[in-house]
């Protein structure tokens, strides 16, 4: 699949060519079963620590960084 370029107006009014959307056009035939990518228990727990880090990471508190972790 070639890269799709689109033209956009820059903040100063000049035209620039940038990389366009990278997803495929149309509707997917199949559901996006992203959760099946999480294979075994270790991967699942690692995903919870990273993907759901707002609740399950030891060192990520985001807006709550300066406070005691939950």
């Amino acid at each position: 699949m070639g890269e799709k370029k689109i033209k956009k107006e820059r903040w100063d009014g000049s035209e620039v060519e940038i990389l366009g959307e990278t997803y495929e056009e149309g509707l997917p035939e199949e559901p996006i079963r992203w959760r099946s990518k999480l294979g075994d228990r270790q991967q699942m727990l690692r995903y919870l620590q990273s993907g759901e880090r707002y609740w399950f990471s030891n060192d990520w508190y985001g807006s709550e960084r300066r406070k005691t972790p939950a």
Partner: protein, 651 residues
């Protein structure tokens, strides 16, 4: 005269599929909710405005602040206390409905974990582990079944938690937890909170509207962060966490040449099992023997949303379409469980060939056949229901199935939004936060709730959502409101063309629609999780009340909507309802909800009759929050001009 009648009929719904049904039912002696509403006019103004009390037999009393004669009830109560009692009782009713559903799910989950509920299983192990972490259940290399049993037991115990706060409130932003603690609003189990409301609102108990609302808040929070959240989470473990999926909706999904089974209500334990059984080859074979080409399963209300979100099963319609589905003459069997089921359904079903089945001991209806559904024999019972529908197929008379169907993308759980924004290796709300901060996205709105025949069916949902996205506000939806937007084509990626430039750019880059279907009514808990993730990601304050966000239920009708609205308010969200406001006749109490409550919990209620007014208020709120965060680059509100409005009115 005929001309006038046509015009009145036009004002019932903006959905062309409904119009098609009305056109075929002019002579219907049963009529629909719209007809019964017309017959009920004028409705009682005291009840409508919260001024009526009938909790003891010295009453009923109508209490009016501006009429000396009626200033106090027989017991001496004033209107603000009457309205407050009525309001918190609505919260109790709604919280009880969601939470009793949640309890049923927890019981089925536990039975499934113990291997006692044939046909149910753990489908999403990752979500199970997530709950184990939430509940402090040891994981290690324990068998999945052992973890599930412990998680199920802990989940079930949440409902009866007597003292400590329920575990899920630890998911909320830390600042929010502090606010709840400070105001003694940390919820205990919902059973206790509902009972305490019924006690406090008994004659001669709690007579202080502020104190009543403190308990109302605690009860609503026990629903949103308790009963409803338990339902959502355990349903995800048993049936799968929703992922993006294409679905069809509206009355046109009924099929002329297939056995049509419609499941209506709320609990996916029934609809999931009927779905599995209706796809079994031997059932399809049986249907073919009766002359049908196959079996077509569809849902109404939240039963529909549950199976749509997880399997793409067609959604026949939202709340006001339940009667119309029967009036197509094409429904061979309708099975209902609990909540939002119009009492007229068995009478309407009798006019056609439709078999009408109740399945839950809590919700029996005269004129219906009752088949008790229980998880121990779920498959067997589902088979019986499907077979009854097949047997009934040859009895169909004339059918009038509207031609209208609409396509949508559903399945936006909080987890999926997180994944779509970043991917498995960098899942995060950061792209959303960044785009809110840089102003491409102006803010976030939750638009949820029912239909109500007092508002032209779907009109307020669609008008509000269109105006919000045109103003770069991303919209999260659940329940019947979600279906209204789906029928208007707003849940497809190409709906980005109806969005403002900034929001459209973000949607195009990520490949999502500007309006996201997050599920059923109990799944409003997913919106709480999404809002919390946005807070915790950082850059937009440290509490939900800091976010440029607002909530709305433009066509609400049920007590559940009030409970949902109030757990959003008590979680810090500005929330606007439309159609009618149940405390309008109590100025002091309404002022507490609409103004003073913000100083207590950071969120407040509001009311707007018209969707454009509602959009204006929500956008104003969003802009004020942006200003408070210092990210208020000027953005003009896009006003719908007359041509755009006409287009909207035309549906």
């Amino acid at each position: 005269m005929a001309e006038i009648k046509k015009k009145e009929e036009k004002a019932r719904s903006v959905d062309p599929a409904c119009e098609e049904v009305f056109a075929t039912c002019e002579e219907s002696p049963v009529g629909f909710s719209w007809d019964r509403l017309a017959k009920q006019q004028p409705q009682c103004g005291f009840g409508m405005k919260g001024q009526c009390c009938r909790i003891c037999s010295m009453g009923p009393c109508r209490v009016m602040p501006d009429k000396e004669k009626y200033k106090y009830g027989v017991c001496g109560v004033d209107v603000d206390t009457v309205a407050a009692r009525n309001f918190v009782r609505m919260i109790a009713g709604g919280a009880a409905a969601h939470s009793d559903h949640g309890r049923g799910v927890a019981e089925t989950f536990l039975a499934a974990a113990k291997g006692e509920a044939k046909g149910y299983e753990i489908k999403d192990e990752q979500k199970l582990l997530q709950l184990a972490l939430d509940f402090g259940v040891e994981i290690g290399d324990r068998a999945m079944q052992d973890i599930a049993i412990e998680v199920g037991e802990k989940a079930l115990s949440i409902f009866g938690e007597q003292h400590g706060p329920i575990p899920f409130i630890k998911r909320a932003p830390l600042k929010r937890q502090e606010i709840w603690k400070q105001h003694s609003m940390e919820p205990r189990g919902v059973d206790r909170e509902v009972v305490e409301i019924m006690h406090r609102t008994h004659m001669g108990v709690d007579q202080d509207p502020v104190n009543l609302m403190q308990q109302g808040s605690r009860c609503a929070l026990a629903d949103g962060w308790g009963g409803s959240m338990v339902a959502t989470e355990l349903q995800d473990v048993m049936f799968g966490t929703p992922q993006p999926i294409i679905g069809e909706c509206n009355l046109g999904v009924l099929k002329e040449d297939e056995v049509n089974i419609v499941i209506h209500g709320h609990e996916p334990t029934l609809s999931e099992m009927v779905m599995v059984v209706s796809q079994a080859p031997e059932m399809i074979e049986k249907a073919k023997k009766k002359g049908a080409k196959g079996i077509n399963l569809g849902g109404i209300c939240c039963s529909a949303n549950e199976i749509l979100m997880r399997h793409g099963v067609p959604n026949v319609g939202n709340f006001l379409q339940q009667e119309l589905a029967l009036a197509t003459g094409a429904v061979d069997l309708m099975a209902v469980d609990v909540q939002c089921i119009m009492d007229a359904l068995p009478r309407i079903a009798k006019q056609y060939h439709t078999k009408f089945i109740t399945t839950n001991y809590r919700a029996k209806m005269s004129g219906a056949e009752h088949i008790q559904f229980d998880e121990d024999h779920a498959e067997e019972i589902a088979r019986k229901i499907v077979e009854m529908a097949i047997e009934n197929y040859p009895n169909r008379g004339t059918t009038h199935i509207p031609q209208t169907t609409n396509t949508l993308v559903a399945g936006f759980s909080h987890e999926t939004i997180n994944y779509l924004l970043g991917g498995v290796f960098r899942a995060a709300y950061k792209p959303l936060n960044d785009n809110i901060i840089n102003g491409r996205i102006r803010g976030i709105a939750g638009v949820v709730g029912c239909n109500n025949p007092k508002t032209v069916h779907d009109s307020a949902h669609i008008a509000l959502v269109k105006e919000l996205i045109a103003n770069d506000v991303i919209v999260l939806q659940t329940g019947c409101s979600a279906l209204a937007a789906a029928k208007a084509g707003l849940m497809l990626p190409e709906a980005a063309k109806e969005a403002g430039k900034g929001l459209a750019e973000v949607c195009e880059a990520v490949g999502i629609p500007p309006v996201l279907h997050m599920g059923s009514c109990v799944d409003n808990s997913r919106i709480l999780m999404a809002a919390t993730a946005v807070v915790k990601e950082g850059g937009l304050g440290d509490d939900i009340s800091d976010l440029p966000a607002a909530g709305a239920a433009p066509e609400w009708m049920s007590e559940k909507a009030i409970s949902i609205g109030h757990y959003f308010v008590a979680s810090g969200v500005y929330t606007v309802f439309g159609t009618t406001w149940p405390t309008a006749g109590a100025p002091g109490f309404t002022d507490l909800l609409f103004n003073k409550y913000e100083q207590i919990v950071g969120g407040k209620w509001d009311f707007a009759q018209e969707p454009s007014e509602m959009a204006r208020k929500m956008i104003e709120q969003i802009d004020n929050k942006r200003a408070a965060l210092g990210i208020d680059k000027a953005k003009e509100r896009v006003l719908y001009d007359m041509a755009m409005r006409r287009e909207l009115d035309a549906g």
